[in-house]
Subunit: 429 residues, 2 copies
Amino acid sequence: MKTIYYPEKNNWDTLCIRPEIDKTNLEEAVKDIIDRVRSEKDKAIRYFSDKFDRVIPCNLKVSQNEIMESIGLVPEELKKAINTARTNIENFHSSQLITEPVIETTEGVKCWRKNVPIEKVGLYIPGGSAPLFSTVLMLGIPAKLAGCKEIILCTPPGKDGKVSPLILYTAQLIGLTEIFKVGGTQAIAAMAYGTESIPKVYKIFGPGNQYVTKAKELVQRDGISIDMPAGPSEVLIIADESANPEFVAADLLSQAEHGPDSQVIMLTDNQALIEKVKKEIEKQIELLPRKEIALKALDNSLQILLTSLDECVRFSNIYAPEHLIINSSYAPLLSGKIINAGSVFLGNFSCESAGDYATGTNHTLPTNGFAKSYSGVSTDSFLKKISFQEVNQEGIKNLGPTIELLAEAESLNGHKNAVSLRLKNLRDV
Amino acid sequence: MKTIYYPEKNNWDTLCIRPEIDKTNLEEAVKDIIDRVRSEKDKAIRYFSDKFDRVIPCNLKVSQNEIMESIGLVPEELKKAINTARTNIENFHSSQLITEPVIETTEGVKCWRKNVPIEKVGLYIPGGSAPLFSTVLMLGIPAKLAGCKEIILCTPPGKDGKVSPLILYTAQLIGLTEIFKVGGTQAIAAMAYGTESIPKVYKIFGPGNQYVTKAKELVQRDGISIDMPAGPSEVLIIADESANPEFVAADLLSQAEHGPDSQVIMLTDNQALIEKVKKEIEKQIELLPRKEIALKALDNSLQILLTSLDECVRFSNIYAPEHLIINSSYAPLLSGKIINAGSVFLGNFSCESAGDYATGTNHTLPTNGFAKSYSGVSTDSFLKKISFQEVNQEGIKNLGPTIELLAEAESLNGHKNAVSLRLKNLRDV
């Protein structure tokens, strides 16, 4: 970790730029895969599964048998833990389902919005070193709460052609049964355009590597909606002398172990804490199975000393972190000043991993500074709000003359006429 | 308008495809302009304003004087009408600002979301044949209600180098004063990357022609957020024998006059209505100043006879119209079955132009079938919802063991360790 003392304010923007990722030829490579899946469908899926994942599943769809088998393969203790997380996520995400009032804006003119689920959604769960069943909960639960009719899940199979029982168990627990063994760009293309086995959806959710991210960006150009643009995961911790350096180090490391391109930032107004945390990191990192990954991520990472906690908050708002931990006894006060962040963790005992798994908040969050304009995934992400209006005879009498004037001023006489004819009709009656 | 009687169900998808627009070379042309604005900033803006709008404004920013002058140039009657629309839009859009509850998901674990305005937003108001001051209300009011700090507005000046007083009057009325004389692709590029005169924003809103739409798509790849993808405006009307054919014709024409690429669709279960509406269109179109535009739009348009109102709703859900008028005495009943639409108008007296201007709902809506996954612009569009969590000692004791198990099952031992250290700390105390 690089340490920076009192950086000049006009350098803050530069310090907030994320480490660059080499994307040479990325778009071209991804576009080729998408085009081929679009035209050759399942055949292309099998080709790319063989090429990239070294496996050609007999059936792309996970069978009911495979799903049932998974139930026996998950230890009871873990089942209980998954269920606790599920309950918290359900409780928090169902609180987001709010019915808005009907507003009578003018006598006889009623307006309202109605939550309507997106009919068909696709969830992507990456493969890789570990089965991310927690992401199944984070995407599947709000999709179910929203009431989406068709929810499909794509995830790459292991070399044995099977999907992890943890993913299957978690999926069936929350009622997802349309599961397909396909990963990477080919999974995104399949959900965007449909194949013989995999149905087309209207919106695609879920994390992934830079290929998946680029694929989501490309299919978006064809009108397929996506949850949000993505980049490597990151945490920013604001800590002061009240913070336990052991905890701060552990939180930095828990983010650093995500991937070599992760970035972790520590801001403080307390110079002594920088050294204490550094020592703790050196100690704790030795015990991590993913030490090598964490070390690489720390290479991209910063400890920054600033003059005050207020400065820390200002810096954090420029950085717009995916995860923000405020490890300070002033956390409640400081949290009111946060304007750009994905998810915020307040105080010494609110570690990021709590939110990653089980507090109830969502862990699919805007990275790469996108927190300046995007929210994390929530039940809202699986809904549209359709607006309705009902104008009765009284309403058109009251509001009609206003509309006529406005339409005429915009030279839209057809718009005016639609009102004038109705007003005339009411006068003639 | 083409008339189709009882189309086969397997043809419905094809009938719902929007008329194709020639986009040859569009991306390249737009990309060139964006790149040039990015590197040459104001100089490029002036160059393209001269090239496309045949005008080089002395100052890109509208002066306080110009704004003040506009107030004297708008007739009092029109001012009143604008104010009525403003009040309705404010009332409806402020009802969307809902504070969500704090949820204690586990004893000692509190989660909540907070509405935080997007700090910097840019509104684009197109030029063309008429000053679209109504769009200033539709974008500016929710931006103000959300509490966005920096709201800028870009709109192309006329050949006299001035912005319409109607736009300036409306903007100042709702508190917008950062107004820039720039249109088209160059306006979108300026807001996305910033120039000497025009500040960079985080999210760009507003309608425009295919150049503006493509520019918004392209800057989105650099992480600038946009309101939604766009296409030509459209209406679908479901009408039965209870509908007044005069009104149906007027509503179809009010959409057709928008642009030659607009599409209007009428669905009915009543064959006689098709002829009646056709005759009314022929009569009413003669009186429209924008007759030629409307005629071209009608060339793309359809009247379709189906066997029942339920079939009409099913077809409409496949089409996913921007505007849906249900002109039937069964409108309230049918409205419950609508799953894909931008804004819905119920009954004989709810004309689209009412919602375009003054009912209070927003008129910036998803076109081109995007209503399957997008909502129209609302106060939400100018906000992020940041999630917060506060886990106290009690909370980590209750939830910690669950998190440890879940993190371990995902092979993320650093995540586990952040919890274990805290639990150990509490045991040691």
